[in-house]
Chain length 181, copies 4
């Protein structure tokens, strides 16, 4: 899929292993550093979601693979799983065309595309020469769309760049749900 | 989906409850009564699959919803899950146009559509006035396509008639895998 | 598209040139040699359709590319153009799995897949060693699905094997309509 | 399709009649009033395209039906027809979320979605209370996406709001091509 937006080389830390690509627990997911949130809940912190499986969907509003594949999948996940069990969170990780994808544009995008889950805007880094925002850096994401699964205890368990199959994503989420808290 | 082929009224016994439509264990899946099998393994009995999660996909080769939706989904399940954990089994449950869907035609169909999992031919019933074959009757299936999930201990856990979402099917299978034997 | 069913090597006579793949007029389309017809009109001869643009869709009921692409396209053509201007005709050109695709099976297939245009069964050849039926031979078709366009005067103008884009097929048909009789 | 963006009530002047929705000639297409152009050709005037069939695709970059249906169709038209015969032109007709769809955002959108045909930005009207831009008003467009076909002599011949079938659009373009200049 040529539309996938590559930001950087794969980081050694994102290797995934095991059933449905799940990593064993052991690596706490970094907190999110955001500058703004959209959605009725307002700001959402990872720590607030302890006890739920968290589906973190990193996207850019002008990334074709995000618009055609990643975001529709995130919307299906949001509709298919109970909110009490699974939290779907969008993260706008702009690393190119910054002037074109401001929060003003994102807000209209979210409304027109009817994104119903909370979306945070990843914070720009301190080093102006590095276009990659803070949370994207902290997670070692390679580009957009990226799908991250975090277990009920806050551990990072799956990190996929590009398209992921619904069957496998559904199975991975259910596996984490079955682990219990 | 108008192409779904309805065979009979819903049976009271097919009610599904719980996460992803899963029923609680307690109802052993009936054995399969077949007249022929296609696939390298030859005949497959449900009892042989104890310890695996079984995905039973009931179809007719001339049912459009089976060809366009159900069978491609069964093929995706077969590709996505490990054969050591999940057994995908096709069941040709002909209840109409019997002369048009003989085993000779089915064999060519399976070859041309590259169905890679074992397929059994459901046995005609003893009463010639009842077009519904034996296994289809035993499971109380309402038509084709029907998707049945059987847990590692041989209990019937999900029974869906018509289209089912990949995300939910993947989650249901993974839930049964997580139960262990 | 690996599902396309190749019957034989390309014949030199099927080269297409010009806008939308249209050949210049000059080559009368061979008559059809059939053994049976399905549809309310009964038997249809090419000569009866003089004055209309004829869309001849050659298929096999167990050819995946026909079921997934070719026949749905033929149904869209049948729905989009006026019957007074454009005649859509199916031709069942079985060249493999003959016992699996008998007229009995075809009849059920046409009913279940709701094919609303007339379908003729191409006649087996005199030479039992050659599996390719008579009309398929006469047109030099390379396999299924094949799309043939015949102009208002009965000349063969386009011959495409495999998938053809709706935009281009629509444009080719309209070009032939614009030629007048 | 709920994503189609309605701007105003249907105008009486957009009624279409005849084959493939084509109107008879007689109504010159209004010139375009734009504030900026993207694409290697720079600014494009309708008068410059006399002799070609013009496909004018009006869209907004944050309109889901434009992104999922209209623009991909315009790209297919651009690829399927010869540039010497058919000119595909995009028109960014922003009538809502103006601050979110500035030319800066549009430029990044066109690049990321690989829009290969020229795109003009419709000019804002003189009356600041009316959000509908000048060319959109002049054509009486009801919303986005809108597809407009203009014949070789510059007459408006088709005006469709919302989704249009590829088969029918291809046929309409070919009909106009066949008219000659």
């Amino acid at each position: 899929m040529p539309d996938v937006r590559a930001a950087q080389r794969p980081a050694a830390t994102t290797a995934t292993t095991g059933m449905f690509g799940l990593e064993p627990p052991g690596r706490p997911a970094p907190p999110w550093t955001t500058r703004e949130w959209f959605g009725p809940e307002g700001a959402v912190q990872l720590a607030d979601l302890r006890g739920k499986v968290v589906v973190l969907h990193a996207f850019q509003m002008l990334c074709p693979a995000c618009v055609h594949h990643g975001l529709p999948q995130a919307q299906r996940i949001h509709a298919a799983f109970e909110a009490a069990d699974v939290a779907v969170i969008g993260l706008h990780t702009v690393f190119e065309h910054h002037a074109a994808m401001t929060p003003v544009s994102l807000q209209a995008f979210l409304r027109e595309f009817r994104i119903a889950f909370p979306v945070g805007v990843d914070a720009p880094g301190a080093d102006a020469r590095n276009p990659i925002p803070v949370t994207m850096q902290a997670y070692g994401m390679q580009g957009t769309p990226s799908l991250v699964l975090i277990d009920r205890r806050g551990h990072l368990r799956l990190h996929a760049f590009g398209a992921a199959e619904d069957l496998v994503v559904g199975a991975a989420i259910a596996s984490l749900l079955a682990e219990g808290g």
